[in-house]
């Protein structure tokens, strides 16, 4: 019998996932809105319901550094952060990817300073977009929980061996309670299996030097190894997601399609906004408007072929970015545009929700009818030309 449904916030749901995964080492530093994840997990450790080493480090830079050491030593390792914490980790995040440390990191997405802010946008994740880490985006607490379990398998898969960020929108998901269906504890254990890295530092019978200096003659090749792992990760994600569907009844895909058949206008987005857009799609479909949603679950690796297959036959797509790039294209729009570079789809770019500004259903309806090709949704004053 699966456990009874629970009422949990996204933060609590991820803490439950961590209890079930029972990682060997959890080096963390608290930051809003990641805090409930770590409070929840620390409480499990204090009550003897999780058995790993919770390491109270002095900063996020140290958290990620400790995570690399423990993951490569041969210990299953999870950490969590948000915003400035991820920014402080950033230089070490690149190193974790380069050293192929299969660390799972729960991210409560929050706007980067400045101005200082605590609410959701995706600028923190986008800061490490090119670091070589996998980034999965959850729509709600259930997905945040499910993706933690999938991420553990994905990170540790021998064809992947990369850090995986499980991103959930700060406050909107981390602090909002909803119904979450957990998988049975024993089933999670079986699903994730034993931790294994190919060159464990503590395997003293087979010593290795890790993280060596690489000059121009080898830096390029080592970077390319990460690309190969990213390419493999799309198929591996799909295979693990299929296994997880058998276990949970919930099937995840790198690019999720919602009511896209026959749609003449498709919205593309990440994260919790997908839930808002689904409501709008349902309402507009009932009114006879052919709109649909393409929700990107895996932002890195970006499922370009799926995006192309999904959008290539539609007339118009509006890409919603919860981050921007002043002087350049917003990140999700840039990837969608690259995937459709030789396909005649009318693409529009909307930046919304920076610093936690809400996007209401009526805002989504308004932008679908907006004549502009680029705009900041809900900005007071005219958006500057792109």
């Amino acid at each position: 019998m699966p456990p009874e449904p629970r009422i949990l916030t996204g933060g609590q749901a991820v803490a439950e996932a961590m209890r079930q995964i029972d990682p060997d080492v959890v080096p963390v530093y608290p930051i809003t809105p990641q805090t409930p994840i770590i409070q929840g997990f620390a409480s499990f450790v204090a009550r003897g319901r999780a058995h790993g080493e919770l390491v109270d480090v002095e900063s996020e830079h140290s958290a990620m550094s400790a995570a690399i050491g423990s993951a490569l030593a041969g210990a299953r390792t999870i950490t969590a952060t948000s915003s400035q914490g991820l920014a402080l980790m950033a230089e070490v995040v690149y190193i974790a990817a380069s050293m192929r440390a299969p660390i799972v990191m729960a991210v409560g997405n929050r706007a980067l300073s400045g101005p200082i802010n605590i609410h959701c946008d995706h600028s923190d994740s986008m800061l490490v977009r090119d670091s070589g880490v996998i980034q999965l985006f959850a729509e709600n607490a259930q997905e945040a929980y499910d993706l933690m379990l999938i991420a553990t398998r994905l990170a540790e898969h021998p064809d992947v061996l990369l850090p995986v960020l499980v991103c959930q929108d700060g406050f909107t998901i981390t602090h909002s309670a909803e119904i979450v269906r957990l998988v049975d504890d024993a089933a999670v254990k079986t699903f994730i299996g034993e931790y294994h890295v190919p060159n464990a530092l503590l395997d003293v019978a087979h010593p290795t030097t890790q993280g060596p200096f690489a000059m121009p003659d080898y830096y390029f090749e080592l970077r390319h190894q990460q690309l190969a792992a990213m390419r493999a990760a799309l198929d591996v994600f799909d295979q693990i997601a299929w296994e997880y569907a058998i276990l949970s009844g919930r099937r995840y895909r790198a690019a999720e399609l919602y009511e896209i058949d026959g749609a003449d206008h498709v919205v593309v987005c990440l994260g919790s906004t997908g839930g808002t857009v689904k409501d709008v799609v349902d309402a507009m479909r009932a009114e006879g408007d052919a709109v649909g949603l393409l929700q990107i679950r895996s932002f890195r690796p970006f499922p370009a072929a799926d995006v192309r297959a999904a959008l290539g036959t539609h007339e118009r797509a509006s890409v919603l970015d919860r981050a921007d790039s002043p002087g350049g294209a917003p990140p999700l729009f840039a990837d969608v545009a690259a995937a459709l570079h030789d396909v005649p789809v009318e693409l529009r770019s909307f930046v919304y929700g920076l610093g936690g500004r809400d996007l209401h259903p009526e805002d989504v309806r308004a932008l679908l009818g907006d004549a502009r090709k680029h705009a900041y949704v809900g900005l007071r004053g005219e958006s500057c030309p792109a």
Partner: protein, 95 residues
């Protein structure tokens, strides 16, 4: 040494096994000077072996047995720590 490895041939994440590091001839970076020994003055205290950051001191059992110039960088530490003054630095191209 074989030619440079492709990205597929490289160990994952650049994790090197000892035998791969042993193949490296890092002495090519040397500073222009190298250590030379007056064996008559050597007392086999092995302080040079202990201090050498590049494992460039060769041993024969517990006895000093010369320098490995394939990995010596010419840092001069051995000549500084030698209590007998048996090690001096000479020009790299000295015999």
């Amino acid at each position: 040494m074989p030619g440079p490895m492709t990205w597929r041939e490289l160990p994952l994440g650049g994790a090197l096994r000892p035998e791969q590091a042993e193949r490296l001839r890092t002495g090519g970076w040397r500073t222009g000077v190298k250590p030379a020994v007056e064996l008559d003055r050597c007392v086999d205290c092995l302080l040079c072996w202990l201090y050498c950051p590049d494992s460039a001191i060769r041993l024969d059992g517990a006895a000093f047995a010369g320098f490995d110039y394939d990995v010596c960088k010419g840092c001069e530490l051995c000549s500084v720590v030698c209590p007998e003054g048996a090690i001096t630095m000479v020009a790299d191209d000295a015999a």
